[in-house]
């Protein structure tokens, strides 16, 4: 029997040892020791000797990741207060990390976030209030209001800076339009519907129009321009004009000019349909310009295309997208991080980054540094920004957005009338906005 107990004791000791081992060995590896792998040519950081504080920056840039890393490296080389390590985290995961981080306090020093999402994270306490530091900087008035507003809370305090912006416009396959007998791009909703009808070819599986109406923020993003073009608004979803906008789109689907599958399409899927020659017109975003020519070449469809504003009903409209950078709470180098942000978002740097990454700038005095303006395709988007509305900012924007895309989907798949769908959406949104209204556009 004693042999048996010896065995038990030894097993128990083994477990305890394993447990202590686990507890002890985890501590050393954290973000700072991984500098060498993520930064292309940064030198190994010897935390002991240098005075540079270790700063982590999390982002979800894909194609633009290299551009970001190079600019960060430039900053690292030119000062010795902080050393920034850049880590890519897939977007959904990054958002989860912020949410969990709000509870655990484990956050990066600098975090990137999609503009409509920032208000919620500000409310959750993820981002640090840096209003005073930024006001001291004194260049805030150069920023476009729409983009800057997404970094604010309901009281107007600032938690970060907008990094880039984009908006939506209409991309037309001129070959298909010409073949249907149209020389010009549509300007009004009537012209648009006419062209969509003429270019739809069910036999060939070609649709007049392609857009994304997916059940998440992307769908809301794509729908907003139509809502405001008709004179409707998020604050008044049940108004006749708002209903009209939804009616218009669901009618396009009912007539077969727009595929019903768009309720499951991401913007990328809608884009692919256009590239493959299956759609005559596409609701396209600024970020799609960079790879457009290559994608068309790969597809072998040899499309002659042209950009124009999304068609107007009462007015032209578009929607502001883009990413912001904020300083997270709990950072030990808040002021230094703000310094980085102000450097990164100076007129020249913002313009430079926009050029390299194929984006629009967020401040008017950066325009001259953005070489993309000479590209007439970017010019369309740049001009469209004048009519672009911001989403929110509102801490409950995700709930508002869900109400919107649910309403849109209900009408799009034909299971609800536009009026009913919008009424249900308004029932969710109106109480929220009554409690905390949206800021003025």
């Amino acid at each position: 029997m004693s042999k048996f107990w010896k065995k038990i004791v030894s097993v128990g000791v083994a477990f305890t040892m394993a447990g202590t081992l686990l507890m002890g060995c985890g501590g050393s590896s954290d973000d700072s020791s991984d500098a060498d792998s993520t930064d292309a040519d940064s030198s190994e950081s010897t935390a002991s000797s240098s005075d540079a504080k270790e700063v982590t920056l999390w982002h979800y840039f894909e194609n633009e990741a290299d551009d970001l890393e190079e600019i960060v490296e430039e900053y690292n080389q030119m000062q010795s207060d902080i050393h920034i390590t850049v880590t890519y985290v897939a977007r959904d995961e990054l958002m989860n990390q912020y949410t969990i981080g709000a509870v655990s306090g484990e956050l990066p020093d600098i975090g990137m976030v999609d503009s409509p999402d920032m208000a919620s994270y500000v409310s959750l306490g993820v981002f640090e209030d840096i209003t005073s530091q930024l006001e001291e900087w004194g260049e805030l008035d150069k920023f476009y209001t729409g983009t800057l507003s997404s970094c604010k809370d309901s009281k107007g305090n600032l938690y970060g800076l907008p990094n880039n912006s984009n908006c939506l416009a209409l991309l037309c396959n001129m070959d298909l339009l010409n073949a249907a007998g149209y020389e010009d791009v549509p300007e009004t909703w009537e012209e648009f519907e006419e062209i969509a009808a003429a270019t739809t070819n069910a036999g060939d599986n070609v649709y007049g129009f392609s857009m994304s109406l997916i059940g998440n923020e992307e769908g809301t993003f794509q729908y907003i321009p139509w809502l405001y073009a008709a004179g409707g608004s998020v604050a008044d979803l049940s108004s006749d004009k708002s209903v009209k906008s939804l009616d218009f789109l669901s009618n396009l689907i009912a007539q077969g000019y727009l595929s019903k599958e768009s309720v499951n399409w991401t913007q990328a899927d809608a884009y692919n349909a256009f590239i493959a020659g299956k759609a005559a017109m596409l609701e396209s975003g600024t970020w799609q310009i960079a790879s457009l020519d290559d994608d068309i070449a790969d597809a072998g469809t040899d499309i002659n295309y042209k950009y124009c504003f999304l068609p107007k009903d009462e007015t032209y409209a578009s929607v502001i997208g883009g990413e912001n950078f904020g300083v997270c709470t709990g950072s030990e180098a808040t002021d230094e991080c703000v310094d980085f942000l102000t450097w990164f978002h100076s007129a020249e740097k913002n313009g430079e980054f926009a050029t390299r990454s194929g984006k629009l700038v967020v401040r008017e005095d950066a325009e001259e540094y953005n070489e993309l303006i000479e590209d007439e395709r970017f010019a369309v988007f740049s001009d469209a920004m004048e009519y672009a509305v911001a989403r929110g900012p509102h801490e409950s924007w995700p709930t508002i957005s869900e109400a919107i895309y649910t309403a849109v989907q209900g009408a799009a798949i034909g299971e609800k009338t536009a009026a009913d769908a919008m009424a249900e959406g308004a029932a969710v949104v109106d109480p929220i906005l009554e409690e905390t209204p949206l800021p003025e556009q």
């Binding site: 029997m1 048996f4 038990i8 097993v11 477990f15 958002m95 989860n96 949410t99 709000a102 919620s120 409310s123 959750l124 306490g125 599986n205 997916i214 059940g215 998440n216 595929s259 019903k260 599958e261 309720v263 499951n264 801490e395 409950s396 995700p398 709930t399 869900e402 649910t406 989907q409 209900g410 798949i413 299971e415």
Partner: protein, 299 residues
């Protein structure tokens, strides 16, 4: 007498020693999350009061809110429909496959091994594959059905609230059938062939052998497969999240995706935890049922 008692006690302690490490491990790793969610579900924490920490205990209010919400009731219904629908097909077909491939013919081993591949694939890939195959106009499933002549027009699998769930159940069964087959096979092989032989000699036919020998002897395996299958299917998340995002119009939204949406997208932390607790309670009841069923066969 004394020796017998201490031997019995020693055996009990032995049993505990084998049992306890896993038990303690689970208590630590899962116990805290469980308590965390229970407490959270009784408060009113959301994005508005989170930072200020001013959330208060509101008792059962979250649960009342949920059960008064028609969307939640739809989600609850979806979860049961999905689970029971999947289980019925997975189990039946899995059992049939298990029995068929237990027969010893030349390629039974390799083919059975091949069939397991669908279970081995990560759910994210399966979900994307299913989404691709169930596409209305470019989906291969519609293409096949139309070409074979079973249907005249493509079915709007994922864009219609009436058919989306069917597509999701089908995809889930594709993954679940091998799982059932695997576990049931192991159970089948435990049955001594001699029992079948003597039954045949006594004049029992195939169906009788199945009903009076196979089924009873398989009862433990069947119960574990069904119980585990129910739990895993009931809390499914990846499949519908990636395949349909719970749409269209919540027709494929289940408790797992609904709770995630509430907590991580809407930042309604307390409501999300409450939804998760509803899921938990449903499974708990089923767990109790399982215990009752195996209790009978234990004695």
């Amino acid at each position: 007498m004394k020796k017998k008692r201490s031997m019995a006690a020693a055996r009990k302690i032995e049993g505990y020693c084998f049992l306890l490490p896993a038990f303690i491990y689970l208590l630590v790793v899962i116990g805290y999350p469980l308590v965390y969610n229970v407490i959270l579900s009784f408060k009113d924490t959301n994005v508005k009061n989170f930072k200020a920490g001013t959330s208060v205990f509101i008792g059962l209010d979250n649960y009342i809110t949920l059960f008064q919400d028609p969307t939640f009731l739809l989600v609850l219904r979806n979860t049961f429909v999905f689970t029971i629908g999947s289980l019925v097909f997975q189990f039946t077909i899995g059992f049939l496959f298990a029995m068929f491939f237990s027969k010893k013919f030349t390629i039974s081993g390799p083919v059975r091994g091949l069939l397991l591949v669908s279970y081995m694939m990560p759910m994210s890939v399966t979900a994307l594959l299913a989404r691709n195959m169930f596409g209305t106009t470019e989906g291969v499933i519609n293409d096949l059905l139309v070409n074979i002549g079973l249907i005249s027009a493509p079915i709007e699998w994922l864009t219609s609230t009436s058919t989306a769930m069917i597509a999701v159940v089908a995809a889930n069964c594709w993954v679940g059938i091998p799982f059932n087959m695997l576990l049931l096979t192991s159970g089948l092989t435990g049955i001594n062939q001699a029992v079948y032989e003597s039954a045949s000699i006594d004049g029992a036919n195939g169906w009788q052998r199945f009903r009076y020998i196979t089924l009873p002897l398989m009862k433990p395996a069947i119960l574990s497969v069904l119980m585990l299958g129910f739990i895993y299917t009931f809390k499914a998340f990846d499949l519908m999240y990636i395949m349909t995002s719970g749409g269209p119009l919540n027709s494929t939204d289940v408790l797992g995706t609904y709770a995630y949406n509430l907590s991580f997208t809407q930042y309604e932390f307390s409501l999300g935890s409450a939804a998760a607790m509803v899921l938990f309670l449903c499974l708990f009841v089923v767990g109790l049922l399982y215990l009752k069923l195996i209790a009978r066969e234990d004695d």
